[in-house]
Amino acid sequence: MNAKTIDRIATFCFYSIAVLIVGILLGLVSFILIRGLGVIDWSFVTEAPGSVLTGGGGVGPQLFNSFYLLILTMLITIPLGLGGGIYMAEYAKPGKLTDFIRLSIEVLSSLPSIVVGLFGLLVFVQYTGWGYSMLAGALALTVFNLPLMVRIVEQSLTAVPREQREASFALGVTHWQTILKILIPAALPGIITGTILASGRVFGEAAALLFTAGMTSPPLDFTNWDFTSPTSPLNPFRPASTLAVHIWKVNAEGIIPDAKEVASGASALLVIAILIFNLVARWLGRFIHARLTSS
């Protein structure tokens, strides 16, 4: 066989793999949507689940909880992740300590989420005395999102060309100002991608939340904006089941008569929510990047 033929075969192989990947994705998404879209209507999206006996109702609180938990988690993860990533990329000196920190990050990121959940149960739920709560859930999610976030921030920062760093230093600009004005803006696309990836895990995670944020949602009053009230959706100390947890629970218990429909509808809704979130986040990221990189 000559080089040209091999080249053609290789090209064909890579195209086929790409087609396969897209095919799997399309197949999966359309399967979920076809099964679920029939169930989704306005009341499904907005109403609370019906009683265990009658079924019916919707997944409104769960949808809200998913987004609210995402925001809470990111409020904790992003600053910590930025701080850790900046430290690793800019301040950590090569040596034993840094190697050890890196090892810890790797191990942390490979912990099974159910283990993180159990850890969360012990520490954030029981030790703190908060009980099942959004905040406990957010902290548990932080535990396993943080390593990802730190690594992505670190990689994005070290990927900024050395020339730009030097250019800034050579103008008499301090390290911290250089980080702030040159490195972070240049690293932003990577950081945003990382944030989106980490967020995707929050939407999809069930195991780490079962024993931290809990499997139930109290009756909520969406007109109640008092953070401390137990019926306020904004109260971070109330238990909250997210869409993913709800799907798991409905399927696992199988008590309500329409478990199949609810699970299918909720799955489709979850997929749609993730898609919308991804698109919006990407658009927002581009917008911020454009604002930062030219006046």
Binding site: F169, A170, L171, G172, P185, S294
Partner: protein, 251 residues
């Protein structure tokens, strides 16, 4: 004439490896001094020692003095911010920031405390004119600097350096990534700038050294072999190794 920069018995080590050996050199204000020599002989290392850019490299240590305007920059109390404002640097690869042309030039002044738009506008216009770039970019100041050609980017970088009002400008092979026409424009600019600044330029191109510089310094293996007026050094080199190098026998 008093020297702008005076280097006395300066040694620099990268870990165990000595890159500069007992360097003694005086650099005269408002002249262009060229560093020539084969690859790896320490030209960039000495250049980067003059604004302490080597400080960032782990394992570097030095001894001896480099005095600028009579003050040893390796003294403990040296303010690096002040030093680097005073001693600007242009690198081999044009390295504009991925922001607008205007913001590139205004970056230094802004960080060093100039806030009013009028003042910044004035600095941007003056330095871009000084760098012979104004006419080419005045209608696109707010577009990204990444859209400029390599030669324009290098002149932008020079304007960015001028905007923090240095006395000394160090250039490390500033034309090596440029085409011949851009190179010529850059050389004109260097000659033009020397009336206000003291310039040190590293180059691999001996014609370039001959065209732009007043003094030439020939390096070999971390040592200075010969320093002389450029014309003298290229026509009547004193050291045999200089002669061999400029006649292309090695390097």
């Amino acid at each position: 004439m008093t020297d702008k920069i005076s280097i006395e018995d300066f040694d620099l080590y990268y870990g165990e490896n000595q890159a500069l050996k007992k360097i003694r050199l005086n650099i005269i204000p408002n002249q262009v001094t060229a560093f020539i020599g084969p690859s790896g002989c320490g030209k960039s290392t000495l250049l980067r020692s003059m604004n302490r850019m080597n400080d960032m490299i782990p394992g570097v240590h030095t001894s001896g003095r480099i005095a600028i305007d009579g003050k040893n920059i390796y003294d403990r109390e040296t303010d690096l911010v002040q030093l680097r404002k005073n001693v600007g640097m242009v690198f081999q690869q044009p390295n504009p920031f991925p922001i607008s042309i205007y913001d590139n030039v205004a970056y230094g002044p802004r960080i060093h405390g100039i806030k009013t738009k009028k003042k910044l506008d004035e600095i941007v216009e003056r330095t871009l004119k000084q760098a012979n770039l104004w006419d080419e970019v005045k209608d696109r100041l707010h577009l990204s600097a990444m859209g400029l050609s390599g030669g324009q980017q290098q002149r932008l970088v020079i304007a960015r350096v001028l905007a923090v009002e240095p006395d000394v400008i160090l250039m490390d092979e500033p034309a090596s990534a440029l085409d011949p026409i851009s190179t010529e424009r850059l050389e004109e600019l260097v000659i033009q700038l020397k009336k206000d600044y003291t310039i040190v330029i590293v180059t691999h191109n001996m014609q370039q050294a001959a065209r732009v510089s007043d003094k030439t310094v020939f390096f070999l293996n971390g040592e200075i072999i010969e320093v002389n007026d450029t014309e003298q050094l290229f026509t009547h080199p004193e050291d045999q190794r200089t002669e061999q190098y400029i006649s292309g026998q090695f390097g």
